[in-house]
């Protein structure tokens, strides 16, 4: 497979996952502000932080805007200058798809193209105004339709492996980021509420709302309940979203799936193929997650996941996607 084409497949997967993920986080946050005792700032700021656009957002709209849910939603949904906005992600998905149409099935291209046309047309804006939840749901559905079309109309071969590896690595990283920010939030909240010893009941209600929202954002509510029998709590939710090997949005699952895709792309038993360093690091991360039993320092583990995924992506770029080649181009986060 041509390295440049593999690069487009990989990033098509990443941007698609990013669009879907943002379309999960925004409506769940909206619902959280209605249910919990968190302030607007506590609810919306993490959205900006998770996406790594805090400084550009604050620089543009000011500190106070981080409490303004509408402003955050607009920025994370429509803003062209924000490379992590849903619109930017969908534009990038479509641009990557257009560059490698020849390896996609017509169905895949058409579902991507229709999403892109819709997102850049009047219908999307009208729906956003009229039915916010319906709008984000439409995006999630369209992204899942693309993924389903990929798996059910394309050869299960290298282009699909690269695309899927992009999806799961992006997802691992996104789940880690959301979880980490919520943990820090909760931590802050606990400290703030500590003096009021008699407010224990109220506090757990806040917690529940946050954790339930997080599970919903990951489509993991039912799966979590099945695993943990309805006992909602931060540690259990973290365990689930980090270590559950069978839920497709849990970090453990995603990293392991990435490892399996990588093994098809570059069979470890064949000598002399490029990609040795990427493979080693991916295996190390997968093994570490598999060996983790207690979540004493969630923050450290989640930070490690985010950093490792970024580094592994770079290694893959250098070893397999031709970033080192003359005039080779790379895409960045």
């Amino acid at each position: 497979m041509i390295s440049r084409v593999a690069d487009h497949c990989f990033w098509l997967g990443r941007y698609l996952e990013r669009a879907e993920n943002t379309a999960r986080v925004l409506p769940v946050t909206l619902s959280l502000t209605l249910d919990s005792e968190l302030t607007a700032r506590q609810s919306w700021r993490p959205v900006i932080v998770v996406s790594g656009v805090e400084s550009s957002f604050v620089g543009r709209y000011g500190e106070a805007a981080t409490e303004d849910g509408e402003q955050v939603q607009r920025y994370m949904t429509w803003e062209r200058d924000n490379l992590t906005s849903i619109r930017s992600s969908i534009n990038a998905v479509r641009e990557n798809a257009r560059s490698i149409r020849e390896v996609l099935s017509l169905d895949v291209f058409q579902t991507v193209n229709e999403l892109w046309l819709w997102m850049n047309g009047d219908a999307a804006e009208e729906l956003w105004e009229a039915d916010r939840e319906g709008f984000y749901r439409h995006i999630r559905d369209a992204c899942l339709l693309v993924l389903g079309t990929v798996r059910n109309t394309m050869l299960h071969d290298l282009p699909l492996d690269f695309l899927w590896m992009g999806v799961v690595l992006e997802r691992a990283s996104q789940t880690a980021r959301i979880l980490d920010v919520q943990f820090q939030n909760e931590h802050g909240l606990r400290l703030a509420q500590l003096p009021a010893a008699d407010a224990v009941g109220a506090q757990s209600a806040v917690d529940d709302a946050v954790w339930l929202a997080l599970l919903r954002a990951c489509s993991g509510l039912e799966a979590f309940m099945q695993r943990f029998g309805g006992r909602v709590g931060g540690d259990a939710v973290a365990r689930f979203l980090v270590l559950e090997p069978k839920h497709p949005r849990a970090i453990r699952f995603c990293v392991h799936e990435g490892r399996e895709r990588f093994a098809r792309i570059r069979p470890p038993e064949v000598a002399g193929l490029p990609g040795a360093r990427s493979w080693q690091r991916l295996c190390a991360l997968d093994d570490r997650l598999a060996a983790t039993e207690s979540l004493d320092d969630v923050h450290a583990l989640l930070t490690h996941v985010v950093d490792e995924v970024a580094d592994i992506s770079n290694e893959i770029g250098g070893e397999l996607l031709g970033y080192g080649a003359p005039a080779g181009q790379s895409q960045s986060q």
């Binding site: 497979m1 041509i2 390295s3 440049r4 534009n91 490029p274």
Partner: protein
């Protein structure tokens, strides 16, 4: 009471019924051949059933079908990039759902004529880059060929691997008021548009299934398989599993859709210059498992940008060394470099002479009488009769660098006179032919009206000779009375039905 006699130009009752309500008001231009209708408004005999089926729709019904067709093209991304827009806006080519039909009899004439012409042009190129017999015998003026900007003296003596130079050609035809097809221009470098032939067909079949079925039309979707087979047969090794790639200048090229379409439908890699490199005079593609050799390159990059070692040094789209690999016989380039000398507009008037010289046959296809300004007499005639002539620059295409004499202003004529006198070699002139028309849907008025069309059939040539795709791109002028059908000048396209 006796029925009143019909006026002479009114269609008969059965003709009326056959054309249906949609075409009830349709009136071809006088003195112009219409592809579908007779001068009296009746459908041409072989097309009656199909026209009856299309014409059964109401104007509103047809407008809906037209809109459906356009939406489908947009959704599938059958589009071209609009350069000037930084948001990467894309548009579909204007498309008219009314097909252009060609009878089996007309097609058999075209098929023979096109094969003959393409064979002769290929032999001309072999000769020009070889012995130059045709010049030695004085059939074509030597200086006309050797002074062509498209003639590449450095390629002389190189035999292309596989022996074929014009693998893919697109020959532009027009039809005069007598209904005779004439060649307007040959495209032997990187002719484009074939993807629209296939996409237009897919849409038309979907939206007009009944008319399509009644018409009994030759299929066009075998083109990609034929193309792949033809190209592989021309590989240096001639093996049927030779490694073949399509080389594109990239997603920002206006024909990118087509490059990607051809790679996808042939099931081969679409590569950009950065994916290829040359080592030991062989071409390699960079893959995720290391370099892989390439034997055939269907290159859609212009020759001038193909290899900075040989052509333009500033090319960012080229593959350094690819011409060396070609000259050594290690890679097949389709089409071969240097072909431009044969589709030079100043050489065009001599194609009939080539056919007689190389094939000892009489030319089957007519062409348009042409004044070659490089000839003193022709030049003098042209500058005195600009208002009657169409003047074209020999090295421009796409409807650029052209004077439409009959529609020109005195100022434009004065300007062209100066240009022709300054560089006569650069210009040719032809009488304006009344291009044939085809009923075309006029969206803003919800009516059918005649619009002028041309036809670009595609010819594939392998070691065994030419094969003509039974179909082609019908381009249509969308402006009333216009003679310019080029897409770059606002023309549209139609599906072309070649009947069995």
């Amino acid at each position: 009471m006796a029925e009143p006699a019909l006026p002479a130009d009114t269609p008969s009752v059965s003709g009326m019924r056959a054309r249906g309500q949609l075409f009830a008001e349709y009136q071809p231009y006088p003195g112009t051949w219409d592809e579908l209708f007779l001068g009296n408004g009746s459908p041409r005999m072989p097309f009656r059933d199909a026209i009856g089926a299309i014409g059964a729709a109401t104007a509103e019904g047809f407008a809906r079908q037209q809109a459906l067709a356009e939406r489908s093209l947009l959704a599938q991304g059958v589009t071209f990039s609009v350069y000037a827009d930084d948001r990467g806006t894309e548009k579909i080519f204007p498309f008219c759902l009314v097909p252009r039909l060609i009878s089996a009899e007309d097609w058999s004439h075209l098929d023979r004529g096109l094969s003959q012409r393409v064979r002769a042009l290929g032999m001309f190129l072999d000769d020009i880059y070889g012995e130059q017999r045709i010049l030695a015998e004085g059939i074509i003026p030597r200086e006309l060929v050797l002074a062509s900007k498209q003639y590449m003296p450095i390629l002389r003596g190189i035999r292309p691997p596989g022996g074929v130079r014009v693998h893919i050609s697109g020959i532009d035809l027009i039809r005069d008021p007598e209904g005779r097809f004439r060649v307007l221009e040959d495209n032997l470098r990187t002719p484009s548009g074939v993807s629209y032939v296939l996409e237009n067909r897919a849409v038309t079949k979907r939206v007009l299934p009944r008319a399509f079925d009644l018409a009994r039309v030759h299929r066009v979707d075998s083109y990609p398989a034929q193309l792949a087979e033809t190209l592989r047969a021309c590989a240096p090794s001639g093996q049927s599993d030779s490694s073949l790639v399509v080389l594109t200048p990239g997603p920002y090229n206006s024909a990118y859709f087509e490059h990607s379409f051809l790679a996808r439908t042939m099931g081969v890699d679409l590569v950009q210059n950065v994916d290829l490199f040359v080592e030991d005079d062989r071409v390699w593609v960079r893959t995720t498992r290391g370099p892989r050799p390439v034997e055939v390159v269907y290159r859609r990059t212009d020759e001038a940008f193909l290899d900075p070692e040989v052509f333009r040094k500033d090319s960012m789209l080229g593959v350094p060394g690819i011409m060396r690999a070609w000259a050594k016989g290690n890679v097949t380039l389709a089409n071969a470099p240097g072909n431009g000398v044969a589709d030079d507009k100043a050489i065009y008037p001599f194609v009939h002479d080539m056919i007689r010289f190389y094939l000892s046959e009489e030319p089957i296809l007519a062409q348009v009488d042409t004044y070659v300004c490089a000839r003193e007499d022709d030049k003098n005639y042209v500058v005195e009769h600009l208002e009657e002539l169409v003047v074209k620059a020999v090295d421009e295409a796409g409807g650029y660098g052209m004077l439409m004499g009959p529609q020109s202003t005195a100022k434009q004529r004065a300007e062209f006179k100066e240009r022709v006198l300054a560089e006569p070699r650069k210009y040719i002139a032809q009488r304006r032919i009344e291009l044939s028309t085809c009923p075309t849907w006029i969206e803003d008025q919800n009516v059918m009206a005649p619009r002028r069309v041309d036809l670009r059939p595609y010819v594939l040539t392998g070691p065994k000779g030419p094969w003509v795709l039974p179909g082609g791109l019908t381009r249509t002028a969308l402006v009333e009375g216009s003679y310019v059908v080029n897409s770059s000048q606002g023309g549209g396209s139609k599906d072309t039905w070649v009947l069995k």
